[in-house]
Symmetry: C2
DNA sequence: CCTAGATTTCAATGATGTCTGAAACTGGCG
DNA sequence: CGCCAGTTTCAGACATCATTGAAATCTAGG
C-alpha cells in the first residue's frame, strides 16, 4: 500500500513521536482511571488518542502501549459506544483509523452523563420500589419515608440539571460552568 | 433502659426486626455500591445502620449481614473515618454501639466530597505537572495547552462549588439543590 | 496483676474482573 | 475462487481486591 510509487518511502508514519508531557499525561490519566472504575488499558488507549489528537491505527495503539490486539479491539469498541472515539476510513487504505473527541468539556460532559446513568439513576427505582413496600404501621416508617423523599429530591435535581446541560451534542457543559461561577460570586453564606 | 427494674427481661434486643422495605433498601444499596467502587459488605453495613437509625453492636451487624468480625471491624473504622458512622458508649456496657448519620443530604454531601477528593482533585496536579513539561515548540503543544486549560477550568469550578456548599458540618447540600432549581427555571437555551 | 469480654490486625483464601493469544471471521483484490 | 490484511471473539491465564478467621492486642473489673 505504501510501495505504490516505488520511490523514497523512508518515513512511513511520522504521527507518533510523543513528548514527555504527553507521556506523563497518559500515565497519570490511566492511573486515575483506576479510581474511576475504568480499566487501565482502556484509559491508556483513550489518553493516547485524546492527547495526540491524531488518527491512529490499532497497531499504533498496540506498539505504543504494549497491549494485545484483542484488548485494543474491545477497548476501542467500548470507547466508541461511549461516543468519545470515532472510526475513520482512509482512501486506498483497508485498515481503520481511530480519533478521539477533542473538545475537553464535551468529554467531561460525556463521562459525567455515563456515570450518572450508572450511579445516580438507579437510586430512583430504589426509591420507587421501597415506597411500594413501606407499611405505614412500622415503628421506623416515618423516618424511612423522609429518607426516601430526600433521596428523590437529590436524584430529580441532578436529573433536571443533566438533561438541561449535559445533552450529547451541545456545549452545555460550558454554560453549566458559567452558571456555577455566577452562583459563586454573590457570597450568600459565611 | 428497659431492664432497669429487674423484672420481666424476656426480650434482650428488640432493635432489629427489619421490614421488607428495609431489607430491599439494604440489598439495592449494596448492589449500587459496586459501581461506586465501595466494597459490598461496607455498603451493607452502612445501609443497615442508615436505614434503621438505631445504635447497633458489632454482633448485630455480623448476625444480620452474615459477615465476619474482622470485616465488620475494619468496615466500621472506614465508615467512621468518612464521618458517616459514629461510636457510642453505653453506661454499664463494655461493648460499643454504632450509629449512622441520619441526614440524607448530609450523607450525599459527604460521599460527593470524598469522591471529589479521589477523582477530581488529582486532575489539578496532573495539569500542573504537564504544564511544567510542555515545550512551546512541539507540533501539538498549542492544542495540548488548550486541553490543560479546559481541564483546569473544570476542576477549579468544581472546587469552588464544593468548598462553598459541601463543607463537612453545614447543610450546604440543601442550598445547593435550591440553587440548581433556580438555574433550571429561566430556560435559557433551546 | 490477672482474667474475660471485646476489638483490631493480618496472612491466607476466595471471588471478580482484566488481559492475552490464538482461532474464527470479514470483505476486497488478484 | 482463494488469498490476504485486518478485525472480532472467547476461553483460559493472570492480577487485583474483598473477605475470612485465628492470633495478637486492648481494657475494665476482680
Amino acid at each position: 500500500m505504501m510501495s505504490e510509487t516505488g520511490e523514497v518511502p523512508p518515513i512511513p508514519e511520522p504521527r507518533l513521536p510523543l513528548t514527555d508531557a504527553e507521556r506523563l499525561f497518559i500515565e497519570r490519566w490511566a492511573l486515575m482511571a483506576a479510581s474511576w472504575g475504568v480499566p487501565r488499558s482502556m484509559a491508556e488507549v483513550h489518553a493516547l488518542l485524546f492527547v495526540t489528537g491524531e488518527a491512529l491505527t490499532a497497531d499504533d495503539l498496540m506498539t505504543e502501549l504494549g497491549i494485545s490486539r484483542g484488548n485494543a479491539s474491545m477497548t476501542i469498541r467500548t470507547l466508541e459506544e461511549w461516543g468519545i472515539v470515532h472510526r475513520e476510513q482512509r482512501a486506498n487504505e483497508r485498515r481503520e483509523y481511530f480519533r478521539a473527541e477533542q473538545d475537553t468539556l464535551a468529554l467531561f460532559s460525556t463521562v459525567i452523563r455515563i456515570r450518572k446513568g450508572r450511579e445516580v439513576d438507579p437510586l430512583l427505582s430504589l426509591v420507587t420500589e421501597c415506597r411500594a413496600r413501606v407499611e405505614a404501621g412500622g415503628a421506623r416508617s416515618a423516618q424511612f419515608t423522609r429518607k426516601l423523599d430526600d433521596i428523590q429530591l437529590f436524584v430529580t435535581t441532578v436529573d433536571a440539571l443533566a438533561s438541561r446541560h449535559l445533552e450529547p451534542g451541545g456545549d452545555g457543559m460550558r454554560s453549566l460552568l458559567g452558571a456555577f461561577s455566577l452562583l459563586d460570586t454573590p457570597g450568600g453564606e459565611r
